[in-house]
Symmetry: C2
């Protein structure tokens, strides 16, 4: 599912907005509630809430609601799938440079 | 410049559309003209042209016009910058799992 083109669309869209990258960055250090994610952002809580929703729809984050608190957590495999897509293309290009002996010239 | 948040916005936006990922994928195997990039896509050339423009604006691709032909080429350092942003967050999360001994449980 994580290599599904539609899912990749959502993951890259999710990462294309600074507030959401800031949330992913915060979550990479440990789970956090939506209010904790909102705190460093200059936004109202109601404006912030759309971002965890989009992150969850993309698969990059999963959330769990216990009582009134929604806790967000990184979904490592989804991060890896997005990273992997880019990595494969970069390596393909670098192998080509290498075969042609252009690597140093291009660097 | 490639770690500039605005540039990261543009790079992830560029990757969030299947036609543009298909172009990056094609370019990872070698430079190509805009017409060559257009060929496998079910789009008119005029509809396709916006995509290399956006890829170039994001920094992921550079183009060079010789006569009437515009040739596109991967910008390896930009691909690496986008990949690196994701990689750092994934590793941060994995180090955390590792410290807590949760790695196997979460995998």
């Amino acid at each position: 599912m994580l290599h599904d083109p539609a899912q990749l669309d959502l993951m890259f869209q999710a990462l294309a907005v600074p507030a959401r990258r800031q949330m992913v960055d915060r979550l990479s250090r440990g789970p956090a509630s939506v209010s904790q994610l909102a705190k460093p952002l200059a936004m109202s809580l109601s404006a912030v809430v759309q971002h965890p929703n989009l992150l969850e729809a993309s698969g990059l984050v999963r959330t769990q609601k216990i009582g009134r608190v929604r806790t967000c957590q990184i979904e490592r495999k989804a991060l890896r799938a997005a990273e992997h897509w880019i990595n494969e293309r970069r390596l393909s290009w670098e192998r080509r440079l290498d075969r042609r002996g252009d690597f140093l010239a291009e660097s």
